[in-house]
Symmetry: C2
Subunit: 476 residues, 2 copies
Amino acid sequence: VLARSFTEPRPSATAVDRARSLLERALGASKVMTDRAQCEPFATDDSDVIAPVPDAVVLASSPEDIARTLEIAQATEVPVTPRLAGTGRTGGAVPLAGGIVLSMMGMAKIKEIDRGERIAVVEPGIITGELHEAVEREGLFYPPDPNSLKMCTIGGNVAENAGGPRAFKYGVTRDYVLGLEAVLMGGTRLRTGRRTAKGVTGYDVTALLTGSEGTLAVFSEATLRLVPKPPEVGTLLALFLDVRAAAEAVAAIVALGLLPRCLELLDRATLDAVRDRGVSVDERAGALLIIEVDGDAHACERGIEQIGEACTQAKALDVLVAQDAAQRARLWSARREMSPAVRALARRKISEDIVVPRRSIAPLLDCVARTSEKTGIRSLTYGHAGDGNLHVNFLWNEPDEIPRVEASIEQLFRDVMSFGGTLSGEHGIGILKAPYLGLEQSDALIDLQVRLKRTFDPKNLLNPGKIFPAAGHRAC
Amino acid sequence: VLARSFTEPRPSATAVDRARSLLERALGASKVMTDRAQCEPFATDDSDVIAPVPDAVVLASSPEDIARTLEIAQATEVPVTPRLAGTGRTGGAVPLAGGIVLSMMGMAKIKEIDRGERIAVVEPGIITGELHEAVEREGLFYPPDPNSLKMCTIGGNVAENAGGPRAFKYGVTRDYVLGLEAVLMGGTRLRTGRRTAKGVTGYDVTALLTGSEGTLAVFSEATLRLVPKPPEVGTLLALFLDVRAAAEAVAAIVALGLLPRCLELLDRATLDAVRDRGVSVDERAGALLIIEVDGDAHACERGIEQIGEACTQAKALDVLVAQDAAQRARLWSARREMSPAVRALARRKISEDIVVPRRSIAPLLDCVARTSEKTGIRSLTYGHAGDGNLHVNFLWNEPDEIPRVEASIEQLFRDVMSFGGTLSGEHGIGILKAPYLGLEQSDALIDLQVRLKRTFDPKNLLNPGKIFPAAGHRAC
């Protein structure tokens, strides 16, 4: 296998038996799967992590189901891993200790869209892309747009504090979560936050839960802030000789005081992969930017004009502006083909999502190139250049390459730290980045977070093994 | 006296003596004030709360000074109340238990403004208005603009999660804090968050500390996100027969999908107070809106045009648009005169800052009018209508009115709750709203927060008595 196995101490067989029978009695057998073959798909997610097959999968259809499950888990001391679509990239939703996987995919309703107050109240299993469509029909806009938006859910997005290309202008999931209905380990239900635009009553527990990767609480409802739907979008594609030139264009756009809604970068290796799939891209180009602005027609036109000039001054090889929807789709084709193109290059890839200060994008990519040369592990990079949030992909085919992949990843993180960056922009820490947490955060900060975790979950039963490295890992 | 006294259990005289001498030895006598007359101003803030005079005031000039103070406080078990400009409205910065007041007003440097990355790194004592000027000189913009911006500080703004009129478009302080350098009770220093635009490494401790009202940690530095300075501002003033008509205009503006940068409302009683100060306002008007848009010149012009039409359709008595800076200043004169005008009406006032859903603004003001009639306590309301964040002011002259003021406040909060609102939009809970916390939050949520507080500060020495009601208060 090319996947990597991880595990945490398992619950005892007696505890598992007790939990299973209590769950079946409390929720009905139809909501509790214990058959190994049925449970097996819940051992993996969209990373290369393989976890133990869970002992039970609960299909919750109400907050009460969640509360009963967490009550039984606490009583029997069987770990619980909350899960939604399983599209995560760092192993956040896999059950490292086996035990119970708690799925909220059956809770997928939009409960309310309030145009006057610009809020939506949703269940955690609603697909993000479906929420987009529903609110846009009302003239509203929910900005966070992770690439997996056709499959991923709001509950998962809140757990991971998901971003996406539009984050450069609009921010990330946390900026849109006004309140949560959450269930604590043991079954206590509570509401955090508010329905109003502002509110500073007590600690910001909503923000603490957002991005906590299923380790502090399970969500049964989210109240989301919406913004007016921008009436127009302008799209521009620019080709450059290399990433350095593209990065200069990005800096020039920022210096102009512009705030495009997205600013996507593809590097030379990514463009080569896309060319292999038959998308025609100027052979000289070693970097591509897709830039979108939104607002009223005049602002879009003016923004695209200024951005075009900035690209030209940064020696763009070519600048293309979409004049209609068809042209817009054509400009996005390289970006759209990217995922299958990259997947076709090797049997396995890992997509890291580091962030560096904007001005360190080109120097970081130089470091990545040097690392690839040294380790012999192929890499390619694309991502959100406005934010400095890059997805550095390492590709491999054979299990014996894994140690060199891991060496490449560690070198990447060390380089990111040397530029004052961060380990994760939108994918979370999960299990895959947990060994490296100490590179970014001090012992004092990690210790504080472990104590916060204990305050919520003293027996460490909720998604154990995630974020905080085991003692043995701390040496890295 | 018209002020209200509050107190918490005091440290012993022996503990105070020990703390004073350890502080003097560690920091030097020049940074430690113990003279009662010198310490007396630190017993009050910009609310009507009177607390005990602190036993010592520490004038910190470095993170080390903060750390030593918190180390000594922990060792001697003497409480510490962190303080900046003392412009708070809920008693957040007054030392309910006496002990040590820790002032960071001597740490007021802007350490860095980075145009390319759009961030500022500042010490906590920098005056918010001075930061505005400094970043605007670089073509950047720091949106949060509490009314006290000429006196208040970034450290205080972070502690209270301050807002201001521009929050409707731009959000509040929390939306601009990327990272903090914080000192925990006991003296442990740590850095939270990041310098990059995105980042999801670990729990969002930065957001947890923002708005924690000095009860979890003391800040020694903040890294702030900046946005491009909007090139143009458009200003419009509209007069209405009553608040109901003004609220209809607000709803119409929101329905148009517009996002003005501020949308300020003054009610009839506020207008009367302003008229008493000699500002000329159409006698028929029972409500006034000041609306500002920002962006490029075209967007401002178009926005003001659409807003003007919406106001006219909502039966505005008059709509005035500023054509230049002088006219703009004139349109703001009523708003500017408001604070002194209100202060001239009575010897004391309390300004509550509740939030209700936008559509409940007019119904809430009906409730407030009924309450005033019943209690005989005069009220007037102004505030941020876009957010539904209203400042409901109660006015009084004699100490024997205080019980009726308190009854009016409690009725206000009960009405706000019935509309699905929140107790505080931007002033925090402090001591004045602590008795009412249970109206908004469940026992489970309050209990969780108290446990979080204990995780940071097991001996309850950091700003004791704030936010969480003492057992005796819980009955309200």
